[in-house]
């Protein structure tokens, strides 16, 4: 709760910047529109106005500045426009309606959570394999890295088609793509974490002739907990991004991704921006949940959470 004020401060700073940026970003569109509506604009042709920066144009036409905030199809929507759109689509609709962002949020979130569970599980398993098995250490890591350089949006349609061919449809294909994006940060972080115990901590177990399993549960796993949480926080946002990306090749039917795409394609920037913010807020909330769990866990483990 101590964080509320700092967050508000940072948010306020960003809002201020945003509000200022709206003017130059939207100036050209505003000027074009104003001219069509019969207002006097200098210079008086769109082509000539291209020679000016947004700021320069604003200085020449200060009377147009208020209009930059109310464009119907702005280049950069103003905060109150995004806020109003979000209010309308979050609170102004029944949550089961297709026009409700809550409905679309749930569509995306369900794929996210399933994908995150699969991705994290797989990531931890791989990390354990890499730490405990030399052959895996030396062969898997380079390919895990390579797997992440494959642009998933290019593979996604093929994955969907192939899964579709064996009868897997619905939330699972999306979750698999989401898992594909989230397992990697978990692998990298967990490998590091599982290897973080120092020589003496390891030697102690060797003097007991602890089994590898005991070494895992009693030393490596607890020592890796701070790393695990760092990875989980990155992994959950990666999962969300993955679920959204996966919505395009699955026919963009519902979910945040579908809203973004359709908003973009039909010239409704507010729809896109509202979905974008809703997605980011969802992610921030998820990350917040993990931060909380992290703090509680570390406190219980006696590690002073800073």
């Amino acid at each position: 709760m101590k964080s509320i004020l700092p967050i508000l401060t940072v948010v306020a700073a960003i809002l201020a910047l945003w509000i200022l940026a709206v003017i130059p970003m939207n100036m050209h569109l505003t000027a074009d529109q104003a001219q069509r509506d019969g207002l006097i604009v200098t210079p008086d042709t769109p082509a000539a106005r291209q020679d000016y920066s947004g700021l320069g144009l604003a200085l020449k036409n200060p009377q147009l500045i208020p209009l930059t905030y109310v464009l119907e199809r702005p280049r950069l929507p103003s905060p109150h426009q995004v806020g109003a759109e979000m209010g309308k689509t979050i609170f102004g609709q029944k949550i089961t309606s297709r026009r409700s962002l809550v409905y679309h949020g749930w569509v995306t979130l369900s794929a996210t959570l399933l994908g995150f569970a699969i991705g994290t599980g797989l990531g931890i398993l791989l990390a354990v394999g890499i730490v405990y098995n030399k052959a895996m250490d030396m062969s898997v890591m380079p390919w895990a890295i390579a797997s992440q350089t494959i642009p998933i949006l290019a593979l996604a349609p093929m994955i969907i088609v192939m899964l579709g061919a064996i009868g897997i449809q619905g939330v699972l294909p999306k979750a698999i793509i989401s898992a594909y994006l989230s397992f990697f940060p978990v692998v990298v972080g967990m490998v590091k974490g599982l290897r973080s115990p120092d020589g003496m901590q390891l030697d102690l177990l060797r003097t007991y002739h602890a089994s590898p399993a005991q070494g895992f549960w009693k030393l490596r796993l607890p020592a890796s907990v701070p790393y695990l949480f760092a990875s989980l926080k990155i992994g959950i946002s990666a999962s969300l991004v993955g679920a959204i990306v996966a919505e395009l090749p699955t026919g963009a039917r519902a979910g945040f991704g579908a809203r973004m795409l359709v908003g973009d394609q039909y010239g409704q920037p507010l729809v896109t921006w509202a979905a974008l913010f809703a997605a980011a807020i969802t992610a921030a909330a998820l990350v917040g949940v993990f931060s909380l769990i992290e703090r509680l866990t570390l406190r219980r483990m006696g590690m002073r959470a800073t």
């Binding site: 199809r73 996604a156 088609v161 579709g164 395009l248 090749p249 973009d264 010239g267 409704q268």
Partner: protein
């Protein structure tokens, strides 16, 4: 049984009035009347319908003919079984104040083009009029256009590709008036290629059960199209009902339905061999970077429409 009556249709874009006929047939029970159980899969920016067909994800797809013919050359034998769209809705939309008045003025300009299999008509056209597409003073600079009209509105491009029924309306919605623009319809330039045909895999067409299913499918779909042409507002409403994103607006879909009706108007579903020939000729004229290298064989069949239209 399911093999005899289940049909999965892969659209080539998200749910919109461009596909009204199929949604109407579904909604008005035309498919049901034919004993069919139809699933309509919306498309999207990354969905290549031929790939879905090849992967067994769908029985039939909608596709533009250039893209379908290219797929044939790539070894995926797809066959046009019906052609509900008679005329092409594709055009280039340019700012008038860039000084463009005719095709010759394209030299030195930047033009947004859809790729993903939809670039063929443009490339053939340019090669027919002898304008290089690799930039420079003499040629045009080509941009791969995203799924919106921003490059034009932001003046990053002098011209962009638009469909009469969708993107052009969006340019107008953005407050641009028609007299600020100049448009080049492919239809008017003599380089029109066939759009939105219904395609199936060649091997499936050897199966009489499948053929029978397709006959019923095409018949019901065309019934849907004609219903949509007559009731544009209701058809748009049906499309909206099927839009799961909830982001489409009624005004846009009604307008789109109106424009679409103009493109389907001349067709009863059967492919006109002359249109086919013009499409093939246009593509073969494609110069150094041909879309197809030889006139295709068996790329369409009238067997289905013949039965369906009896």
């Amino acid at each position: 049984d399911s093999h005899a009556n289940d049909v999965t249709l892969q659209l080539q874009w998200v749910t919109q009035s461009q596909f009204a006929g199929y949604y109407v047939a579904q909604d008005q029970g035309f498919y049901e009347e034919e004993g069919l159980n139809v699933t309509i899969l919306p498309g999207g920016p990354d969905i290549a319908p031929p790939q879905v067909l090849a992967g067994g994800g769908a029985d039939v797809m909608l596709n533009w003919m250039p893209s379908a013919l290219a797929a044939r050359e790539k070894g995926l034998p797809v066959v046009n079984i019906a052609q509900p769209f008679k005329t092409s809705g594709l055009m280039l939309t340019c700012w008038k104040d860039t000084g463009i008045e005719s095709v010759e003025d394209f030299a030195g300009k930047t033009i947004g083009v859809w790729f993903f299999g939809n670039e063929y008509p443009f490339l053939s056209w340019m090669s027919q009029v002898g304008i290089p597409t690799d930039g420079g003073e003499e040629g045009v600079t080509v941009l791969k256009q995203g799924f919106n009209v921003d490059p034009l509105l932001q003046r990053q491009a002098d011209c962009i590709s638009t469909m009469t029924y969708n993107e052009y309306g969006q340019v107008l919605d953005a407050g641009v008036s028609e007299d600020e623009l100049i448009t080049f319809k492919y239809e008017d330039q003599g380089v029109a290629t066939l759009e939105d045909g219904i395609y199936a895999l060649e091997e499936n067409l050897e199966d009489p059960v499948f053929v029978d299913k397709m006959v019923r499918f095409v018949r019901a779909s065309m019934k849907g199209w004609k219903w949509a042409e007559e009731n544009p507002e209701a058809a748009a409403g049906i499309v909206l009902d099927n839009d799961e994103t909830g982001a489409q607006t009624e005004a846009a879909q009604v307008r789109m339905m109106g424009e679409i009706a103009k493109l389907t108007a001349g067709s009863n579903g059967a492919l006109d061999p002359a249109d086919y020939q013009r499409t093939v000729d246009t593509l073969l004229a494609g110069g150094s970077d041909p879309v197809i290298s030889a006139a295709p064989e068996g790329a369409w069949t009238s067997a289905i429409t013949d039965k369906a239209l009896q």
